[in-house]
């Protein structure tokens, strides 16, 4: 077991280092601005007094490294400073929105993961049949469509024409859980369509790879029944690639969510990021980017660790 623990700790450390480097990139990218943030906020027509006052307020009179460390220390305790545009605390503005986004992503994942794994395994077993080919074309089409295309199609047919679901996902605090699921069904379905296609293709590839290995051939040759070949020989080795596929696609969900939130006017962090970018509200942009990047890295780490833990060769070292 010691080997595995070492490997996991190593991966976690690597993830932490990458996150640190990314925080450096996110922070110092804004420093690239000619002049500084104060100049960018107030524009060309700012008086020197205004500039000086704003610089003082934002602590821009200190060297960049000090400010970075200050920002990083704040970020660790979830304090991202104040928004330039509204002056409100960034953490408060995006905190609730982040929870909403996580809810949407989890909702989509809860539907997409079981469906796509079952379908992916099925398609892999039926490979080169007509169903496999139809599934191939269908998933390729779904992957190639931009999220807003799928989203608007769903709005048009399920909301406007038939009126089965609301087109705009407005949330309020006193909604029951069932109501919440109903109201956010369309954005979740859009994400499901995109992610299922990805996951199905990746699961199919992983399983086909596996079925081509010699020990599966051996199991078949010794006369094991097909279900036993799958359950006893293929599945234990398939967990690692499948966990990998799931985690990678959850990471993908996190980015796909931005476009979907805008289409459905969903009050999530993606929408906050887009608004902040067009208003050039840098503290919010930095905070959102850091949160997205951290989630992305965390999920990738989970994929790595998961595939280490489920690898029978690592669990039972010689």
């Amino acid at each position: 077991m010691g080997d595995i623990l070492g490997l996991v700790v190593k991966r976690l450390g690597l993830g932490l280092i990458i996150l640190l480097v990314i925080s450096v990139i996110i922070f110092f990218m804004v420093e690239l601005l000619p002049g500084d943030i104060a100049q960018a906020v107030l524009g060309q027509g700012a008086t020197p007094e205004n500039l000086a006052a704003l610089r003082k307020e934002m602590g821009l009179d200190q060297p960049a490294l000090v400010r970075y460390l200050h920002w990083l220390a704040g970020a660790v305790t979830l304090d991202f400073g104040n928004s330039i545009v509204t002056g409100a605390s960034v953490a408060e503005t995006i905190g609730e929105r982040f929870a909403n986004t996580l809810f949407l992503a989890a909702y989509a994942a809860a539907i997409a993961v079981p469906i796509s794994i079952v379908l992916g395994v099925l398609v892999a077993l039926l490979r080169n049949s007509i169903f496999d080919r139809v599934a191939n074309v269908a998933t390729l089409t779904s992957i190639s469509s931009p999220e807003f295309f799928l989203g608007y199609i769903l709005i048009l047919y399920l909301a406007v024409k038939t009126g089965m679901f609301p087109a705009i996902a407005s949330l309020s605090n006193d909604m029951s859980f069932g109501d919440l699921l109903y109201r956010t069904f369309l954005p979740a379905l859009t994400l499901v369509l995109v992610v299922t296609a990805h996951m199905m293709r990746m699961t199919r590839a992983a399983i086909i790879n596996l079925l081509a290995s010699p020990y599966i051939e051996m199991a078949r040759l010794k006369g094991a029944p097909p279900w036993k070949v799958i359950v006893k020989h293929a599945l234990p080795n398939a967990w690692a690639p499948i966990i990998n596929v799931v985690a990678l696609n959850l990471a993908y969900l996190i980015t796909g969510v931005v476009l979907v939130e805008v289409v459905f006017v969903y009050p999530g962090i993606g929408q906050a990021l887009v608004d902040a970018v067009s208003k050039r509200d840098f503290p919010v942009v930095q905070a959102c980017c850091l949160i997205f990047a951290a989630t992305f890295i965390l999920l990738n780490l989970a994929a790595d660790v998961g595939s280490i833990l489920t690898n029978p060769r690592l669990r039972h070292p010689k």
Binding site: S144, S145, F149, S278, F282, F296
Partner: protein, 412 residues
């Protein structure tokens, strides 16, 4: 029971019986499962659902016929070797080539095809379609069909420029890393790891928030572009010149000239904010190209014939050009197609968010956003540019799929 429903089931059942009789197993399975699904759909959705199925099947049959004819056409005009390759193309790949061909024609001859100008206001807002305007007018009264045709030019040109730049930088760096090894290789690999661990859309938004606004002017974009060209060029020069001082001097002089010329040329084609967009995309996607190239080239570098060439005293540039590249063209071309899809979708997404290509330039992504209000009136107009984006991406993916299948020899 209307006549349509009777004809629908007769046709389906007749076709599946024929397929079964002629032992076309897969066609029979498809047709008969469609029949079974139609029973359910007909009960739930009524005649209109069956009508949609019939229309979809008709469209599918039409595109299959077009693809078949287009493939035969290509085979007829291609040279003997190329024709042999083309014969192996599945219908999906032929369909992809047809769509790419159509978009290319629309983009190149846009001013001739489009009946109206790109930003020309010809009627009132959201005017319905008539003989003059095939698809009606948009929110400012501009002809949507004309904007769609111009959009093919603007969006695709931008995505293509971004892909080419990402590809040049990524592929050159990958080849250099694979042939040089050592700290250079490690440095590039770790850098690309970091860039790839930020989600692409998020990184694009971060960079656009900084380089947007006042910074999107001629001077800044020219210098940023020159810096990018310079880095790409430096890799090329270092590969060719190696340790010869004279070659370095000549190379750097040529590079400076080329970079300036290229920057000027790009500025006449694109406006500054578009150049920033191209650079953002190139920075985000070059690590992906780098990683693949490095892996592919890394597999070639360890071959015996490379060892032999090294012992012959061949230079690095010769190794790259004559030994490594010819042995890694197929995956690289497929990668180019895939990267194009990613870049195209990213740019369309950014434009949809209002942060990519700026109005009044016609562009498919922003056209969806501008006309999105029509959706709530049950109008499909905003879906047309979105469908165009999806269609082109699917088309490229189909062609790439075929190439990958051929190059990998995956005959599972």
């Amino acid at each position: 029971m209307s006549l349509f429903v009777i004809a629908y089931y007769t046709l389906l059942l007749g076709a599946s019986c024929l397929a079964a009789y002629f032992n076309k197993r897969s066609a029979f399975l498809l047709l008969f499962s469609l029949t079974l699904v139609s029973f359910v759909l007909g009960i739930i959705g009524g005649v209109s659902a069956l009508r949609i199925v019939a229309i979809l099947a008709g469209l599918l049959a039409l595109s299959a016929m077009v693809s078949y004819a287009f493939r035969e056409f290509l085979i007829a005009i291609a040279s003997k070797n190329l024709a042999k390759e083309l014969r192996t193309a599945p219908l999906t790949a032929a369909f992809g080539m047809f769509v790419i061909f159509t978009v290319a024609v629309a983009g190149i001859f846009a001013p001739l095809i489009a009946p109206h100008g790109e930003a020309e206001v010809i009627t009132s807002a959201f005017a319905p379609a008539d003989a003059n305007m095939l698809l009606g007018a948009d929110q400012l009264g501009r002809d949507i069909f004309s904007r769609l045709v111009y959009g093919a030019r603007n969006t695709v040109a931008l995505a293509l420029a971004g892909t080419v730049m990402a590809f040049l930088l990524g592929a050159l760096a990958g080849l250099m890393a694979a042939t040089s090894g050592g700290w250079f290789d490690q440095f590039l690999a770790r850098t690309s790891d970091v860039i790839m661990s930020i989600p692409s859309l998020i990184f694009a938004l971060l960079m656009l928030s900084i380089f947007g606004g006042d910074l999107a002017n001629d001077t800044t974009s020219f210098w940023l572009l020159s810096a990018f060209t310079g880095i790409t060029g430096l890799l090329l020069v270092s590969a060719i010149a190696e340790r010869s001082v004279i070659a370095w001097v000549i190379g750097l002089a040529v590079l400076a000239g080329v970079a300036a010329l290229f920057g000027g040329l790009m500025l006449t084609i694109f406006n500054p904010s578009e150049i920033i967009l191209i650079l953002v995309v190139a920075v985000i996607y070059s690590p992906r190209v780098f990683r693949l190239t490095r892996a592919v080239a890394g597999n070639v570098v360890v071959m015996d014939y490379i060892e032999a060439a090294k012992l012959r005293g061949e230079r690095k540039w010769y190794l790259i050009r004559r030994e490594i590249l010819p042995n890694s063209t197929a995956p690289l071309i497929a990668e180019f197609g895939l990267e194009f899809c990613f870049v195209f979708l990213l740019i369309a997404g950014l434009s949809f968010l209002g942060l990519g290509i700026q109005p009044p330039t016609a562009d498919w992504g922003s056209m969806v956003r501008e006309n999105a209000t029509l959706i709530s009136f049950g109008d499909i107009t905003p879906l047309i540019p979105a469908a165009a984006i999806a269609l082109l991406t699917v088309a490229v993916n189909f062609v790439v799929d075929w190439m990958l299948y051929r190059s990998s020899g995956l005959k599972v």
